[in-house]
């Protein structure tokens, strides 16, 4: 049963990722990424990471992807030109990707990691629940938590400064 759930999630995640790279229309790429993120949330549930899975669906597939959809609609569909400034890029890049995959797989499977344990240790029932994650965030990782909130504030201000309409720009457009 767990194997079936894993393979369904894995096929969804890999299919979504391939669709993000392959589809020509950026809008469809965004929708494919949502499929990928929801499949990953299912895999997180299999790994007993309930809070991370919920945050993945609510924050990522919900909020961040809405931002992407709006920008994709605002910018519109610009077709990528077929002109290739770097010769052989289309051929070399997939080769490089396969090389990274093979290297990482060797690094994962070639070590003694598999001899540690196949199923992982027995974990308490509260593993990964919002209560225990919240406890951990506010007791052990309080500084990290506050730094993350500060980072979000800085990013919000940066987005307003970057994308906001400047006065000189509007006069240029009016003239």
């Amino acid at each position: 049963m767990i194997q079936v759930a894993f393979f369904v999630g894995a096929i969804g995640a890999v299919g979504g990722a391939l669709a993000v790279v392959a589809l020509r229309n950026p809008f469809y790429s965004v929708l494919a990424l949502i499929v990928h993120l929801v499949s990953l949330a299912g895999l997180f549930l299999l790994l007993h990471a309930q809070f991370v899975a919920a945050a993945q669906v609510v924050v990522y597939a919900g909020a961040v992807m809405v931002l992407y959809v709006f920008v994709a609609a605002y910018v519109g569909q610009e077709q990528e030109s077929l002109y290739e400034p770097l010769a052989g890029q289309r051929v070399l890049a997939p080769l490089l990707g396969v090389a990274i995959f093979v290297e990482l797989s060797i690094a994962v499977l070639g070590t003694a990691l598999s001899s540690l344990s196949s199923r992982g240790p027995t974990i308490p029932l509260s593993f990964g629940t919002p209560a225990s994650i919240g406890n951990l965030l506010l007791e052990h990782f309080l500084i990290v938590f506050e730094a993350a909130s500060m980072l979000l504030l800085v990013a919000a201000v940066a987005a307003v400064v970057l994308a906001g309409r400047r006065r000189t720009e509007t006069t240029e457009e009016g003239a």
């Binding site: 894993f6 890999v14 990722a17 391939l18 993000v20 790279v21 950026p26 790429s29 990424l33 990928h36 997180f44 790994l47 990471a49 991370v52 993945q56 924050v59 990522y60 961040v64 992407y68 920008v71 994709a72 605002y74 910018v75 610009e78 400034p85 890029q89 070399l92 997939p94 490089l96 990707g97 990274i100 995959f101 990482l104 797989s105 994962v108 499977l109 990691l113 196949s118 992982g120 240790p121 974990i123 593993f127 990964g128 225990s132 994650i133 951990l136 965030l137 990782f141 990290v144 993350a148 980072l151 979000l152 990013a155 919000a156 940066a158 987005a159 307003v160 970057l162 994308a163 720009e169």
Partner: protein, 99 residues
């Protein structure tokens, strides 16, 4: 399920994201492929957290999600600013900073 299955899946997703960053030229899609790579890292973190029975990896994954959200906000702000100035939305044509 063995943890190495999850790690191999994570490696595959990371490789697909890296190929996307190299092949695609629309900055919006490059950002999407960066998300793919970050999520592959998240999957590996959560898998290790399960295999060691320690929740610290899940905290790490949450913080990675926060950093990814910040990166998205700044990146999309840049794309909107580029669009307003009628710059070409093509990462191969924006190479004035190259030395």
């Amino acid at each position: 399920m063995d943890v190495s299955w999850y790690l191999v899946l994570s490696a595959m997703l990371f490789a697909i994201g890296a190929v996307g960053v190299l092949v695609r030229r629309s900055p919006l899609v490059v950002l999407l492929c960066l998300e793919l790579m970050l999520n592959a890292g998240n999957l590996a973190l959560v898998a290790f957290s399960r295999s060691t029975g320690n929740q610290d990896g899940q905290i790490f994954a949450l913080i990675v999600m926060v950093v990814a959200a910040c990166e998205v906000v700044v990146g999309l702000g840049l794309i909107v600013a580029m669009f307003r100035r009628r710059l070409p939305l093509d990462v191969d044509e924006l190479r004035k900073l190259r030395g």
